[in-house]
């Protein structure tokens, strides 16, 4: 009874809040409305929809032994309390994606992004994560690629492999680009971010040599070191003779990042990657909690309009209409195919009871989606003029501050040079113009929230804290992505010549690391020399690849549910799949065929080629034009490849569905047979 009353109250409050957001026009709205609506929507989704899917569609069985119990080895397979698995799973899925995507999508206004984050998560992302988690749990924690091979056939397996490898490349490039834009000509940010590398190495040595495995001690040491690096960076910024040592151009920084990525991939994990991850996880969780508390305390007004004129496709951050591009730009936070790799990796080996998948799968994704909502709030509470001045590349608004503010004010979002200078000075930076990529404007938003909660005088410190927090876990994801990419390259090369597949043979390690770093380093380099900022091309490509991976995961889930006893329940995964197929295909189609040079990649390449041939380009642009032309054509072919893979997998899945409905033979389910659980429910799993 009490549960029903609580549920009803949630529905009423949530309904009011959502209606409030959607109907509120022409006057500023408070961020608390958005927070309230989001929390109610997640709780309702969790209590009603997730519960229904778990019991009726997936038919989770509390009496069934999970792999953690059957294969318990005291290490990776181990029955673990669901709160702990939730923590591990959330720490693994929460990356920089939900911070960057919503910030970029804020060019459409706060409404399209908010609605897609909420609806996409509740009906798409959370469902995908929970379903894949359960399906993998029932298959001894098998990976997405293995499940694709088992349940769809060899084509699905190859598609998943290529998709994962390409997404690693695009993701690493775009993250590298975001970091470069954070650090360019900012000695404070550069010094702090670079200092996190020796900090991580000290922690690594501590955990290996002095106190093996004392993770908490190491983490505390690392966090202290990183905070010292933050203060040290601020001190260094005020030393005229020292600050020049850390003042780099974007091009130099991209070289540093590429070299760093290579070393991170070939060094042993204990030295750099693992300790950096402890720091990043700690900072990530701490900052998310801090941000949530600060937003509730300050409850800022949202200054961005609900919908901007840029929904028509003329937006300065990236070209394209609100449909389909808001659904591509915000992947993580609404639905992210990458999560399916995590949900079919470590987490299913820890689940002690099948009923836990609702909290671990659906719950973690709802929380991740909430992080995306907070990022959207942090971006939209800035003056829109300031937001566009930070996030728009010089190629769009002009290279000088005067030209930029003139263009942006002309769009109806007034901003002045003095305002930008005062803001930059208060954040401890020389300029904030054209810091594309989303991270700097998010840091400004976070700094103003933290500043008004915990002391206005520390704005510059908060700004660089936010920058360091973003950079640390952008780099952590870059390291991990490069390493996984290296293993995948070795896996492929090993098929051609066996010794190349040995993960500990040094020549092979060097070769495969060089291959993967060159691949993403190329896209990073092109992004840096692109006068429009590069993110405008790379981020949509990343969105398309991530949604393609989600479509592969949802196809596997659909095929498995269709093969089961109640095929009609496959609609639960089929509907989000249909939506993703629609938006991804439309977006890719427009990226390939649109005659608008701000959207169509071939159109842009041809336009640039014509200008180059006519000699109308300024010399510095003419110098890089051939590389940009080549890259735009390459990106168009990549978009085509992603869409082709997407449709091949969907058709493969459709073939299985048709055969099943006609009563013909289909690949047998790879589910592990039922065995009764001997665990007293959860009792032994608590620490």
């Amino acid at each position: 009874m009490l549960k029903k009353i609580v549920g009803l109250m949630l529905a009423v409050i949530g309904g009011f809040a959502v209606a409030g957001i959607a109907l509120h026009r022409h006057e500023p709205i408070n961020a608390l409305w958005i927070v309230t609506a989001a929390v109610c929507v997640y709780l309702l989704g969790y209590r009603v929809y997730a519960a229904w899917i778990a019991t009726r569609v997936l038919r989770v069985d509390p009496t069934r032994a999970t792999p953690a119990e059957r294969l318990n080895n005291g290490r990776d397979f181990m029955p673990t309390h669901r709160a702990i698995v939730f923590g591990h799973h959330f720490a693994a899925i929460a990356g920089p994606g939900p911070l960057v995507g919503p910030t970029l999508a804020a060019q459409f206004g706060y409404l399209p992004g908010t609605l897609w984050i909420l609806v996409g998560a509740v009906f798409g992302g959370c469902v995908q994560d929970m379903t894949i988690l359960l399906l993998s749990t029932r298959r001894d924690g098998r990976s997405l690629g293995q499940m694709a091979r088992d349940e769809l056939g060899p084509l699905g397996g190859v598609a998943a492999l290529i998709g994962t490898l390409l997404i690693m490349v695009i993701l690493s490039a775009v993250l590298g680009l975001v970091i470069v834009n954070v650090m360019k000509h900012s000695p404070w940010a550069t010094a702090t971010v670079l200092a996190t590398i020796p900090a991580a190495i000290i922690v690594g040595v501590y955990l290996r040599v002095w106190r093996p495995g004392r993770v908490l001690e190491g983490t505390v040491l690392g966090v202290v070191l990183v905070l010292l690096a933050l203060l040290g960076g601020g001190w260094l910024d005020h030393q005229p003779q020292l600050r020049g040592l850390f003042d780099y151009s974007a091009l130099t920084l991209s070289g540093i990042i590429i070299a760093y990525g290579f070393f991170a991939a070939i060094l042993p994990v204990w030295l750099l990657l693992a300790p950096r991850d402890y720091l990043s996880t700690f900072l990530k969780l701490g900052t998310i909690v801090l941000l949530a508390v600060a937003i509730v305390i300050t409850h800022p007004q949202i200054k961005m309009p609900a919908i901007t004129p840029f929904v028509d496709g003329t937006g300065p951050l990236f070209g394209g209409k609100v449909f389909p591009f808001v659904f591509i730009t915000i992947a993580c936070g609404a639905i992210s195919g990458f999560h399916a790799l995590i949900a079919s990796g470590t987490s299913p080996k820890l689940i002690s009871n099948e009923t836990d998948v609702r909290l671990v799968g659906y719950g973690s994704m709802a929380l991740e989606s909430f992080v995306a909502i907070m990022a959207l709030i942090a971006a939209t509470l800035l003056d829109p003029g300031v937001f566009f001045a930070i996030n728009t590349g010089a190629g769009v608004v002009g290279a000088t501050p005067e030209a930029a503010v003139h263009t942006i004010s002309g769009w109806g979002f007034p901003v002045t040079v003095e305002q930008m200078q005062a803001l930059a000075a208060s954040m401890g930076e020389q300029t904030l113009f054209a810091r594309t990529g989303g991270a700097p404007s998010l840091a400004v938003g976070m700094a103003s929230i933290f500043g008004s909660t915990f002391g206005q005088g520390l704005l510059a410190l908060w700004y660089h804290f936010a920058i360091m927090f973003e950079a640390v876990f952008l780099l952590a994801t870059l390291d991990a992505g490069t390493r996984v990419g290296r293993f995948m390259v070795q896996d492929v090369l090993g098929r051609a010549w066996e010794p190349l597949g040995r993960t500990s043979w040094y020549p092979s390690v060097l070769l495969s690391s060089a291959v993967i770093v060159t691949a993403w380093g190329y896209f990073l380099y092109i992004g840096v020399i692109d006068p429009n900022g590069g993110v405008n091309i790379l981020w949509p490509l990343f969105g398309i690849s991530n949604q393609m991976l989600a479509a592969i995961a949802l196809s596997i889930a659909t095929a498995i549910i269709i093969k089961g006893a109640r095929p009609r329940y496959a609609l639960v995964t089929l509907l989000p799949l249909a939506w993703l197929a629609l938006v991804t295909t439309t977006a890719a189609w427009q990226k390939i065929t649109s005659p608008d040079v701000r959207i169509g990649l071939f159109a842009a390449a041809n336009d640039l080629a014509a200008k180059l041939a006519a000699g109308t380009l300024p010399p510095e642009r003419a110098a890089v034009a051939p590389q940009l032309i080549f890259n735009q054509r390459l990106d168009a072919w990549l978009a085509l490849l992603f869409t082709t893979i997407l449709w091949l997998v969907i058709l493969d899945m459709a073939r299985i569905c048709v055969r099943r409905l006609r009563g013909q033979s289909v690949p047998a389910s790879s589910e592990v047979p039922y065995r009764e659980s001997q665990l007293k429910l959860l009792a032994q799993a608590a620490p």
Binding site: H339, I342, A480, T503
Partner: protein, 73 residues
């Protein structure tokens, strides 16, 4: 002990208990107690088998963790 002192005693015990549980959760969540868990498991399930040392165990755990996809975008 008189009544208020007894209450204080109980209160302190409850706080200690709470802190101890919180600490255990934190260690579990961060993986700080992974070796103890492994040790307990081996001694219970495979009493005769060779037990890895803390350092070797930790190294192998890290290698295993970072051989697959363990961090997302």
């Amino acid at each position: 002990m008189n009544a208020p002192a007894l209450r204080m005693h109980h209160g302190a015990a409850a706080v200690t208990q709470c802190a101890r549980r919180g600490w255990a959760w934190l260690r579990h969540l961060s993986g700080d107690d992974a070796y103890e868990r492994y040790r307990a498991h081996q001694l219970k399930r495979h009493p005769g088998c060779r037990l890895m040392e803390r350092r070797a165990f930790f190294e192998e755990e890290q290698r295993r963790k970072w051989s697959g996809v363990s961090r997302c975008c």
